[in-house]
């Protein structure tokens, strides 16, 4: 297994290099050079993996792996003239899957009294004694200037804007919320009964029933709020609440009660209405030292991945992270992840769960889609990166002139500071520096790490196909993997599986309307990015719970606000169309596979089968290529079989290729001729017939179909060359009937004259 891992690693970086260089001819030597340069590191890593192959943890050979990777990256970088992936980084080893990137969002407000995040509106809010500054974080543009509102002075426990952003609600104390209308400057104060209950918090809702939910120790009050800012109590949910958590993206509020706070009551306030989830208990291990541990609000996180809502709960005693999945009428525990730190937080980037092991200062990435609870990659530190120099990202390009600032700001970043707050889904608020970061994922790095840890390219492709954020990069990586699989002459079954993954993913995304051709010129703004659209079959497979098939998911109607769009990426889906697969995979490897066209034909057949099963169409050039390959290896019998069974779909281009390949075998040429005739391509058919010397048949055909576009001299010259005056005379006769005015042309005179010379008794 060490061998496979090693080979994988090498090959991947090799194909990576090849991809960047766009010069496939040099890839072989590239690999050679990489191998030569990094042989020691490769050996070290390999022997390390081999020695601990039975161990469970993934990061045991981290040191060796890092050495090898950086060596290979270095080699690749040296060899590729363009510094395409050059980036300034801090942190050791410069390797990570997750990073925060300059520029950050800064809140340079003097006298700031606190930073808040309104996840419903995705606003970063900074308050001073009498002012509220709010920044849009959806676009994450550091240039954006905050909007400023004045509010009366007073303590501020939390701030949330209403969903239409007309009202600012400020929690002043544990029993008072104040509302300020931004336009009418109207003010309203809501108080709860002091003493008997205290206010825990509030949030705005877009459910039809209510606009505002206020969570108190005695339960949750739902209010409707009209435009004149009158609050009307709609419903009260009576629960004893110790603490609550709510995320707007899941519309789910969890109310914790009980001594250990492990009894959870959940409500979903979605556009479909208010749904009460069944009450459930969280799992908590008890130890001797702490027989009754208590769950705090910070231990529970709501996570939305692939349109499913999970709750992850920290069990510090057991050092486990329990996951629960919410269905409409059930909550199912899904398994547990190990934790390596006493402090923990989670983010979600691109449907991947990032578990920040804060004490250890590393991130572990999990893909909750698949059954296994194994991490996607080894734990690696979170990195800080400068802007990407030559990247195509417009945001980065526009910010290039601010690079000096970034270098200055980089110095005071301390990873996983105590003051860091992890916001839903992927933001980090640095309270001390008053900076907001967004967590990014380095797809290439995680891809490399995954492939190093498993040789299963199929699951790797599946993983990449699920990526949405850096769709373009994921797509390129997928293409690279597919190419590499073929170039490595992997067993056809493996390649088939990989192709199936790509084709089904494409087919699915077309059906779901996610995939849009780039040339349509449509922006991503029109594309729904509804996370709830995970395919049914995959959903069933992923959780393996019997409940799953029977019950609908809670979050069926998850809204997709405009804020969900990923505007820095041009593509919304890494799906690869069959045409692209042909162009970037098959066509590009054809030259290198000259010696093994049999293999390539087998792969193409599988590809055709796959797209035919999905009822997709493909560029007909792939058929032309298939013919070329079959003819090259002289498999004419199969070629005729392919044509007869319409595996190679008939078209003009295909027919012409058959004619061309038929130079070596007249039977193949006949296939081409037949195809031309069946396609009613009269002109080409007649020309080819004449070319083969069947000028009489050609003329007969022309006469029958009234085809006059073929040069008449073709027939005449052919007949004259065959020295058959009888035929020549007949042809002259037919042509003069077929083509009006033929008798006046010079050709007629020429050949008529020739005829007369040969025989004096001729009379046409």
């Amino acid at each position: 297994s060490s061998d496979t891992a090693l080979v994988n690693l090498l090959v991947l970086s090799f194909s990576n290099a090849g991809m960047k260089e766009k010069n496939s001819a040099t890839t072989a030597s590239t690999l050679g050079r990489i191998l030569a340069t990094c042989s020691k590191q490769a050996k070290d890593y390999g022997s390390c993996v081999a020695s601990i192959v039975h161990e469970i943890e993934k990061d045991l050979c981290l040191k060796q792996f890092l050495a090898l990777k950086s060596c290979m990256q270095h080699t690749v970088k040296i060899m590729s003239p363009r510094p395409s992936s050059s980036q300034t980084s801090v942190g050791s080893g410069a390797l990570s899957h997750a990073y925060i990137q300059h520029p950050s969002l800064r809140c340079n407000v003097p006298e700031s009294r606190g930073l808040f995040y309104d996840d419903a509106n995705r606003l970063l809010i900074c308050v001073t004694s009498s002012q509220v500054f709010s920044w849009e974080t959806a676009t994450f543009n550091p240039d954006v200037s905050p909007s400023v509102d004045s509010i009366p002075e007073g303590p501020i426990l939390s701030v949330r804007f209403s969903l239409d952003k007309k009202v600012i609600a400020v929690q002043r104390s544990d029993c008072e919320i104040q509302f300020f209308h931004r336009e009418t400057k109207q003010t309203l104060t809501h108080k709860c009964r002091a003493g008997s209950e205290s206010l825990l918090g509030f949030f705005w809702s877009d459910s039809p029933l209510c606009d505002l939910a206020v969570v108190k120790t005695s339960g949750m009050d739902l209010f409707a709020c009209d435009s004149a800012m009158n609050l009307r109590l709609v419903e009260t949910k009576k629960v004893n609440v110790n603490w609550y958590i709510y995320t707007h993206e899941s519309r789910l509020v969890l109310l914790a009660s009980g001594l250990q706070c492990k009894t959870i009551t959940g409500f979903q306030l979605s556009t479909a209405g208010v749904v009460r989830l069944p009450k459930f208990e969280m799992t908590l291990a008890s130890t001797e030292s702490n027989s009754k541990p208590i769950i705090s609000a910070g231990d529970v996180h709501l996570v939305t991945v692939y349109g499913r809502i999970y709750c992850v709960q920290v069990d510090m005693e057991a050092m486990l992270l329990h996951t629960y999945r919410f269905y409409r009428d059930a909550v199912v525990q899904q398994g547990s992840l190990p934790i390596y730190s006493s402090k923990l937080s989670v983010s979600v980037v691109d449907n991947l769960l990032l578990v920040h092991q804060i004490d250890a200062k590393v991130v572990i990435i999990y893909d909750l889609f698949v059954d296994s609870r194994a991490p996607v990659s080894a734990p690696l530190p979170l990195l800080w990166r400068g802007y990407q120099g030559s990247d195509t990202s417009p945001q980065a390009a526009s910010k290039e002139n601010e690079s000096p600032e970034s270098s200055t700001s980089s110095e005071n970043i301390v990873m996983y500071e105590d003051a860091w707050t992890f916001l839903v889904p992927d933001l980090i608020l640095d309270q001390t520096n008053k900076v907001l970061w967004r967590v990014h994922l380095d797809l290439e790095a995680s891809w490399l790490a995954i492939s190093a840890s498993s040789s299963d390219r199929t699951s790797l492709l599946e993983f990449l196909q699920r990526r949405k954020l850096e769709a373009n990069k994921a797509k390129q990586l997928c293409l690279g993997i597919a190419r590499a699989l073929i170039l490595e002459r992997r067993p056809a079954t493996q390649v088939t599986q990989a192709i199936d993954v790509l084709v089904t993913a494409y087919s699915y995304s077309v059906k779901a309307g996610i995939y849009k051709e780039l040339k349509n010129g449509k922006t991503t703004a029109t594309i729904p990015t509804n996370d709830g659209a995970s395919p049914d079959n995959e959903r069933g497979r992923a959780s393996g719970s019997s409940l799953d098939e029977e019950e609908e998911e809670v979050e069926m109607n998850l809204p997709s606000g405009p804020a969900d769009e990923q505007q820095e990426s041009q593509l919304s889906s890494p799906a690869i169309s069959p045409d692209e697969l042909y162009k970037f995979v098959f066509a590009s490897v054809e030259e290198m596979m000259v010696e093994e066209s049999d293999y390539l034909v087998a792969i193409i057949t599988e590809f055709l089968r796959s797209i035919s099963a999905e009822k997709l169409k493909v560029d007909l050039n792939i058929y032309v290529m298939t013919i070329r390959l079959l003819a090259r290896s002289k498999r004419f019998a199969e070629l005729s079989l392919f044509t007869a069974n319409k595996i190679i779909e008939p078209s003009k281009e295909v027919a012409l290729q058959l004619l061309e390949s038929g130079g070596q075998d007249p039977r193949v040429r006949k296939l081409g001729l037949d195809m031309l005739r069946q396609l009613s391509l009269h002109h080409e058919y007649i020309s080819s017939l004449v070319q083969d010397g069947y000028y009489l048949e050609a003329l007969r055909y022309a006469q029958k179909r009234k085809v006059t576009s073929v040069r008449s001299s073709l027939f005449l010259e052919a007949a004259f060359a065959s020295n058959d005056m009888q035929h020549l005379a007949a042809i002259l006769r037919v042509l003069s009937e077929l083509i009006p005015g033929f008798k006046e042309t010079s050709e007629y005179y020429t050949f008529h004259g020739l005829l007369n010379e040969t025989s004096s008794s001729v009379a046409v």
Partner: protein, 635 residues
């Protein structure tokens, strides 16, 4: 009728025949055996001269004009579209549409083309030989009236036994085996004489057939100087009417099957020049093969009843695109079952070919063998045998069991004095020797216990191991290169394991798909038509199901037989592929129509008595458009 079958295109020269025959009698009728070769020499001189003159391209108005007149007459008949009841089988149209539509002044003046001259010459020659042979026959030298056996089949090598007294050395195989050596020698001597004689005129292709009063001699030069000759008795029974080409195909088939299993005859001769080896191989092989042809106690040769069948071609299953892709996907898996060396495979469903990765020639051989011995129908031998090829002899499948002991008894009495007794001779065509094993693979002990059969691929010039796998009606024949099998049975079982592991799912899927689309025995029946479609390039044919062909009247079948003979003659005249259309009105007013276009042939019998020729050609046209992609649509 006997007269009818005898006339082999030479009837136009009927007038002159008597003279030749008289002269020949004068020279040869001395009654001495020795004079036969001398007589041949004399003929060579006498008739070589006119032949030479003819070949110089001098005018040959007579024959050519005959031909053109005939064509003219036929054209008129066709245009009037009223069948003339005068003769029983009349050629109505030899269609050359271009000249037909545009009468050309050159028609009668043009110099005779080379093929016509040659064919004229051969006709003449054939006629001479016929006369010559009849004399021999009358003299009792050919001794054809032995033991009521209607068939003689021999294989001999012209390079052997050149010296007097060693003639026996020539004989490699003779059937029936129980005839005396002198009879064998006389048959072979005669055949050799004819071959030597005709070679004088046509060194490239010596004689193909000699038709005599009571016998037909069918020749096939299987390998250079190795000849197979079949002598069939012209019984007065009407069933004994055959097409020479069909008989030749039998010879070709048995030879190419032999080569597939044992390699070429010449190579076996080279291996052991005494000839014992080849004799010990040929004897059981051809006997086993002939077993398949036997009905009751007689051998049933392909008669006119089987005229809408083509031996030596493959019948294919038509596949929808998605099924074809599944099949190819399976083929891809099978290809890689032996690691890096590519395997070949042939897949059959029932008795139809689904896919092949072999060249057409090899495919035909393997297909023929599979249909004979491997497919589900062949395994359940006799119980419900259905096949394009062998429906007509389905009775023989059951009856052969009773006859085979008879034939095999004689195999024990095989002349072991041939000097070869080294080991067992493998008999690949033995009956009832294949059984389906537990793992789905077909096993046999023909090649010895636990030994895997090997066959010789002609195109790739390599020997391969043959593995057959069966899933219900789906039969997979996997050919593994011998280089891939280093450790013998160990590697074989590895390949088997690979097949089961990697391909089982796909095999099941393909089987399911094909079964769903399977139209049954009569899937390729087109109501109202009885047809045969042949693609000579791919060696593929398709025909009306034999059950449907059997409903045709005898006259119709005879007409089709006649038609096919005509086309065979036309085709042999010219190497160039050309278009032609021939329509024959049979005695019972049925139409027999042939269309030939660039390597593809369509034969059709239409039994609607009221049809005019125009109706008939329209029917052919619509058939062509509907079922042949318009290949035969010419007008």
């Amino acid at each position: 009728m006997g007269n009818e079958t005898k006339s082999n295109g030479a009837s136009s020269l009927g007038g002159g025949g008597g003279g030749f025959r008289a002269k020949m009698e004068h020279y040869v009728y001395s009654g001495e055996k020795k004079h036969v070769l001398a007589g041949i020499g004399i003929f060579t001189v006498i008739f070589g001269i006119p032949w030479y003159l003819m070949n110089r391209g001098s005018n040959n108005h007579r024959s050519h004009q005959d031909y053109m007149e005939k064509a003219d007459k036929a054209r008129k008949a066709r245009l009037s579209s009223s069948p003339s009841p005068s003769s029983d089988n009349q050629i109505h149209a030899v269609n050359d549409p271009l000249t037909q539509g545009f009468p050309c002044p050159y028609k009668h003046n043009s110099a005779m083309s080379e093929p016509v001259a040659q064919s004229f010459g051969l006709c003449l020659l054939g006629f001479i030989l016929k006369g010559f042979y009849e004399i021999l026959e009358a003299m009792g030298m050919a001794s054809m009236n032995s033991s009521g056996e209607s068939l003689k089949l021999c294989v001999f090598d012209l390079r052997r036994g050149q010296n007097e007294g060693q003639e026996l050395d020539k004989i490699l195989f003779f059937y029936p085996p129980d005839v005396t050596f002198s009879t064998q020698l006389s048959v072979i001597g005669l055949s050799e004489g004819l071959i030597t004689f005709t070679r004088l005129f046509s060194p490239e292709a010596a004689c193909e057939v000699i038709e005599a009063e009571r016998h037909s001699h069918v020749f096939h030069e299987a390998e250079p100087d190795i000849w197979m000759v079949m002598v069939v008795e012209k019984n007065k029974e009407i069933e004994a009417i055959w097409r020479v080409d069909a008989l030749q195909k039998v010879l070709k088939e048995v030879h190419s099957l032999f080569v597939m299993f044992h390699g070429s005859i010449r190579s076996l001769l080279d291996k052991e020049p005494s000839g014992g080896l080849i004799r010990s191989h040929l004897y059981p092989f051809i006997t086993d093969y002939l077993n398949d042809l036997s009905v009751g106690k007689k051998l049933q040769l392909p008669s006119f009843r089987e005229t809408l069948k083509e031996r030596g071609t493959v019948q294919m299953l038509t596949l929808a695109r998605d099924a074809a892709l599944e099949v190819q996907s399976l083929v891809g898996v099978l290809d890689s079952c032996a690691g890096t060396l590519r395997c070949h495979s042939v897949i059959l469903f029932h008795d139809l070919l689904v896919s092949t990765t072999l060249s057409p020639d090899d495919t035909v051989d393997l297909f023929t063998f599979s249909v004979m011995r491997l497919t589900s129908n062949a395994l359940s031998s006799g119980t419900s045998s259905w096949s394009y090829l062998r429906k007509g002899t389905s009775l023989s499948q059951t009856s052969s069991k009773s006859t085979s002991p008879q034939l095999l008894v004689s195999s024990d009495s095989l002349p072991s004095g041939n000097g070869h007794d080294a080991g067992r001779v493998i008999r690949p065509l033995q009956h009832n020797k294949w059984i389906k094993g537990k793992d789905g693979f077909l096993v046999t002990d023909i090649w010895g216990k636990d030994a895997t059969p090997t066959i010789w691929l002609h195109q790739r010039q390599e020997r391969v191991h043959l593995l057959a796998y069966q899933q219900k009606c789906l039969t997979l024949v996997l050919l593994v290169p011998t280089e891939a099998i280093v450790n013998g049975e160990l590697d074989i079982s590895f390949v088997k394991h690979q097949v089961i592991e990697n391909a089982t799912a796909k095999i099941l899927k393909v089987e399911e798909k094909l079964s769903k689309g399977w139209g049954g025995e009569n899937a390729y029946h087109v109501s109202g038509y009885r047809y045969l479609l042949v693609d000579n390039d791919m060696e593929v044919s398709r025909a009306s199901p034999s059950g449907k062909v059997a409903t045709l009247a005898k006259e119709t079948l005879l007409a089709v037989n006649k038609l096919r003979e005509t086309v065979d003659t036309e085709k042999s005249r010219t190497k160039e592929e050309k278009d032609m259309e021939i329509c024959i009105r049979a005695k019972n007013n049925a139409w027999a129509i042939a269309r030939v276009t660039r390597g593809k042939e369509l034969y059709m019998a239409l039994e609607k008595a009221s049809d005019t020729l125009l109706d008939a050609t329209d029917s052919v046209q619509s058939f062509s458009n509907r079922y042949c992609n318009g290949t035969f649509s010419m007008d």
